[in-house]
Amino acid sequence: MTRRVFILSLCLIFLAFPPAVGAEITPENQDPKEQSSEAFRLEEITVIAPQPGVEISTDRTIIRMDQFKKPGYVRTLEDVLQEIGGIDVLRGNALMASPGDEVAIRGLSEGRLVVEIDGRRINHTGQMGRYIVDWSTLNVDDIEKVEIIRGGHSVLHPFAIGGVINIITKKGKKTDKLKPDVNISSGYSSFNTYFNQGSVDGGIANLVGYHFSASRQSTDGYLRNNFQWNNNFAGGLQFFLPFEANLWLGARYSKVNYGFPVINDPSRPDFDPSYPPFVDPDALRHIPTAIQLPGQPIPQWNKNTYYLDAILTVPVGPGTAKVHAYTTDGRRDIHFYRVRAGRNVFTNVDTRDVTKGILAEYRDIALLERDYCKNYLTVGFDYQLLGMPPQNPTIYLVKSPYLQNVVQLWNWLNFTAGVRYYNIEMDTYYSWIEQGKPAPAFPTGGKKQRESNWFPSFKLDVQATPDTALYAAVSRSLRLPCP
């Protein structure tokens, strides 16, 4: 089966190649700043613009943050996604994005869909290798736009069963005007929920662009002890180098203090009628499953998350070379009750998750550019290392080359074919069922596993009339097999 898929993929990809000759023209509709966008696309295609700042084409939804509008705060990625058709945002707290929230595209949540910043994934490890997204750390201060790709039909984004949410950040401007664009805002709402935010965008002497932002958001919460505050800082410098090369050096930092909701049961003597009941809720990721108790000590977590990115983009011959090195470092300091020998015991746990990676890509290689036919090739290699140091610094080691070829005929037909190969080495754990024990048992570590396979993707976009766009896609996707 694997062999058949591989051969079929290669045949279709190479069938899509017309005779190749070099060309120097860059597609007009592609902004070089948007490093993580797909390769070449149809120049004119019918889109639907359902809301201010939102455009949906046959292959993606684009949300431009400076135009997006909704009643209420637009402070985190969740605030935006909640308004997009086809996306489910299931929250534990309506007032702020919380660590345990779930976001799903077509019923498949963060365990399958991929969240990226500038094209690199930020789903991180946690709980011995389950990969997760902490939505509370994703504020919109430095976001230029959000791309949502439904389904796993792009080989440029790995492990995307369900879809991709790609955050494109602001990167300053190439300008000789010294005055920056300054943006300041504040808000206040029920339950003592407020935010303050400021950002500057600008450039210096056409040599360096910059973007910096800072914000704080806080709420008392609706449920008992469900307080939260976030501090966020983001920024970076873009260097405009000779030969139209660009170097972006960016950093983001998020600190979240989140109070776990505590039991508020009308049948208990410690019931507080000023809060709604909170009894036996569904378990959320990140949230302790044992009952949390009111009063001192306070069940809560502090999380510090650091994102560092360096992106070098250089036009080379008929295409553009890009190297993106990145790291995400999350540190959680959790204070919570757990059950020991039938009693609630207050515990402190520190955990750390680190993701490192390099994404190397030679994209949009113009193999042919004629009036009737255009052909662009993208090749790349993903290297990702996900772990929980110091206990287990390498839970997953991913090596994944990929190739995508786009052929456009007569400006109204696009055929995209691609294939991605995964080689994944894992050091996870045996769950109870894998241990062969009759009764439930806690997982044990040391499970070594290696997986590799080919995954093809095909897509056809047709601008059938000036007002009608049609598309069809079929692809095979892989979920990072955790754990």
Binding site: P50, K70, A94, R130, Y222, S431, P440
Partner: protein, 201 residues
């Protein structure tokens, strides 16, 4: 041993522009093999949740997305989207006390509406409505969460003076005071009110 989860994903769709009305329709079908599901259990003696991961041999997901947008620039914009999602999963004896991942906790039917009308120069009134159908919860014994609809209302006014732009927003979320939960046990507030103010220069 857990096997890796793979999926064949099929999708087709159309976007049709009737100016000023635009329509979008999409049908998708996912054939997922070895769907990795996570049943939570309490490991004896630890009080910690244990991850009871196992493969469901086959999960088939399918759905329809329909969207209509009306755009009278500078006067009115409207949107309605309807999403249907369903799945078939083979039975597994490993299902335990609750389930994290199965798409049971997402609604089968979902409707979102948005209307944005210009009331006067630089003044916009916007209403967003969201409807989610009844859905399952993680813990079987807790039954189902009921369907709900919420209405959010906001008003935005821009002021311009010199080279500065000032934007004032006031809003009321869940204006009808619907009692609802998106995740079982986590009650959402009834009406919440607020304002934002921002400037660009």
């Amino acid at each position: 041993m857990l096997r890796p989860e793979t999926a064949w994903e099929y999708e087709t769709g159309i976007i049709q522009n009737f100016k000023p009305l635009t329509l979008r329709g999409t049908f998708y079908f996912y054939d997922i093999k070895d769907f990795m599901n996570d049943s939570g259990i309490m490991a004896p003696g630890t009080g910690l949740a244990s991850d009871c991961l196992y493969n469901i041999p086959s999960v088939k997901m399918y759905g329809v997305e329909l969207e209509a947008a009306l755009d009278f620039r500078n006067r009115f914009r409207g949107m309605v989207s309807y999403n249907y999602m369903n799945f078939d999963a083979t039975e597994s004896s490993f299902q335990q006390e609750w389930s994290y991942y199965l798409p049971l906790i997402c609604p089968k039917h979902k409707v979102k509406l948005m209307g944005r009308v210009r009331t006067w120069e630089d003044g916009w009134l916007q209403a967003n409505v969201r409807f989610l159908s009844a859905r399952s919860v993680q813990k079987k014994e807790e039954g189902r969460l009921g369907a709900f609809a919420t209405l959010d209302l906001g008003f935005e006014q821009k002021f311009r003076f010199w080279q500065q732009e000032l934007t004032l927003n006031v809003f009321a979320n869940n204006l009808t005071g619907t009692r609802y939960q998106e995740i079982q046990g986590y009650h959402m507030p009834r009406q919440t009110y607020g304002f934002t103010i921002g400037t660009k220069f």
